[in-house]
């Protein structure tokens, strides 16, 4: 019997892994908590049958889900991985619903392709309704044709802000400005070092050109070296304060400007969702899952691909997925696949150096600024706790301030808290997805045939 490769996540990385594991002769089970394949990138409005970007690859890969050696489980949340028994625990049914089916899988090889979510640095007022992550604005506009507001400011760091602005314009929002916190010199230097290496991603350059043209056509200013430093309003955002910032993101006094808006979306890059990799015992490096040249993690039989191994966009994710699919199926990935993946990684490196996070962002915070959204822990409380000799270490700090102990388990505040408190982020979430106690108590069903 051929090898059974189980793939968690049907985004660009997971789908490329499906294609290549099938080509290498494996039996494949691919599951995703979402109802339809595509992940964060290939999103489309209800009823629309074709994704807008990367269509041909996506359409080919999506058809493979009906391959006789492929089993596709939508609506399947993987909530744990038991590394002793090599058993993946899955809940199938309505998201967060009751009465979901509990299933388990015992793979020959496991590919984790669980992607990333937005990173948003805290600033005064970021907890107000009407403040969204850039990804939320994108998901709602691209996937549901809903505009997060009438007058929207888009801010943060990274090229992702541009497609977000375009999608907002598409669904009828007025975008008052797009603000990149890094100065133009940093961005230019990051992108144009050794430009011949970027030739492989020429498609990306064209895409950026298109976004720039769209912004110009709608007279949306795209500014460098400016950041949102505060959102104001009683029960929802009414105005945002922006300021000019230096290369380290410290505020240049006297450059503040206020915009009247009813929504603001902010993204400072992405953070990986490595819960299952952590459960499997994989070593992380700077928060990302550590992999070798064939996308193997440090745990035998477990592979990782896409943005859980590093942020590099959809093309990079798919290139990694292709390598992981071959290797997990027991084949040596062809040199051409490895080369394509390595070229894509160069692009990821560029992205990181062109859009770094300035260390002085903490100067935007005030004593009463909320850092942990769930537990409403403030910057002042965190600072007091770190200087309290009775509370050494990140664990005591968490228990003392409750930062990171709410429902999101530090997914939103984790990187900020660790930066502010001078520790490394702990990704210790024994359960990757919420499960109800009743579901936990219910008898486990075996692997279905």
């Amino acid at each position: 019997m051929s090898r059974h490769v189980v793939i968690v996540g049907a985004g660009p990385a997971g789908l490329a892994a499906v294609e290549h594991a099938l080509r290498a002769g494996a039996r494949v089970t691919v599951l995703d908590q979402a109802e339809s394949p595509g992940g964060q990138y290939h999103r489309r409005p209800p009823g629309a049958d074709a994704a807008r970007h990367g269509r041909s690859d996506f359409d080919r890969r999506r058809r493979l889900l009906a391959h006789p050696r492929c089993r596709w489980w939508p609506g399947a949340a993987v909530w744990a991985f038991d590394r002793v028994e090599n058993r993946l625990h899955v809940l199938r049914g309505q998201p967060d619903g009751s009465g979901r089916r509990r299933l388990t899988l015992v793979p020959d090889a496991l590919i984790l392709a669980t992607g990333a979510h937005d990173r948003t640095l805290p600033f005064p007022g970021w907890e107000l309704p009407g403040v969204y992550t850039a990804g939320a604005a994108q998901a709602l506009a691209k996937g549901e044709r809903v505009a997060i507001g009438g007058r929207v400011l888009v801010a943060g760091a990274g090229p992702f802000l541009l497609p977000v602005a375009e999608s907002l314009l598409d669904v009828g929002a007025e975008v008052v400005a797009v603000l990149e916190a890094n100065p133009f010199t940093t961005v230019r230097k990051g992108w144009s070092a050794r430009p011949w290496r970027l030739a492989a991603q020429a498609g990306k350059a064209g895409e950026l050109g298109r976004y720039a043209a769209t912004l110009a056509r709608h007279r949306v200013p795209y500014r460098f070296g400016r950041a949102v430093i505060e959102a104001r309003g009683a029960d929802s955002v009414r105005e945002v304060v922006t300021a000019g910032v230096r290369a380290d993101w410290s505020i240049i006094p006297g450059t503040e400007r206020t915009y009247e808006v009813d929504a603001v979306c902010v993204g400072h890059g992405f953070v990986p969702q490595p819960e299952l990799a952590v459960a499997a015992g994989c070593v992380l490096d700077g928060g990302f899952v550590k992999v070798d040249g064939e996308q193997r993690t440090t745990v035998d039989g477990v592979f990782a691909a896409g943005e859980i191994t590093g942020i590099g966009g959809a093309v990079t994710s798919a290139a990694e997925g292709a390598v992981a699919g071959r290797a997990a199926a027991g084949e040596k990935p062809a040199p051409a696949l490895i080369r394509a993946r390595d070229r894509a990684l160069t692009f990821a490196g560029r992205l990181a150096s062109a859009h770094p996070i300035g260390t002085a962002w903490r100067s935007w915070l005030r004593e009463d600024t909320i850092v942990c959204r769930c537990e409403e822990t403030t910057y002042g409380e965190l600072v007091r706790a770190t200087t309290d000799p009775a509370r050494p270490g990140p664990h005591a700090l968490k228990l003392g301030t409750r930062a990171g102990l709410g429902p999101c388990q530090g997914r939103m505040c984790g990187p900020a808290v660790s930066e502010l408190c001078g520790g490394t982020e702990r990704h210790h979430r024994p359960i990757a997805q919420p499960i109800r106690l009743g579901e936990l108590a219910a008898r486990t069903e075996g692997e279905p045939g």
Partner: protein
């Protein structure tokens, strides 16, 4: 886009959405941007949009703590907005 309409109620009020939209999408399209209060009483709605932040929790057909951004809205769903104390 097929645009098949669906109807849900939110705290008793009828709202119309499009099949395939999430509960969060239907609420936002209807102009509701917050539906939960934190322990301190502060309002919250959608933040991350993909199931990571847990800001958008509400009660669907009597099941509490459902993430509105992850749950596809279904015709006839009865939604209740919730405060944190209600379920702890």
């Amino acid at each position: 886009m097929s645009d098949r309409p669906i109807r849900i109620t939110v705290d008793g009020e009828a709202l119309t959405g499009i099949a395939g939209q999430s509960v969060a999408g239907v609420l936002l399209a209807a102009g509701r941007i917050s539906w939960r209060t934190t322990r301190s009483g502060a309002p919250r709605g959608v933040f991350c949009g993909i199931g990571a932040c847990f800001d958008c929790l509400l009660t669907v057909n009597d099941v509490p703590d459902v993430r509105a951004c992850r749950r596809p809205a279904a015709d006839g769903d009865e939604i209740r907005t919730q405060s944190r104390e209600e379920n702890t």
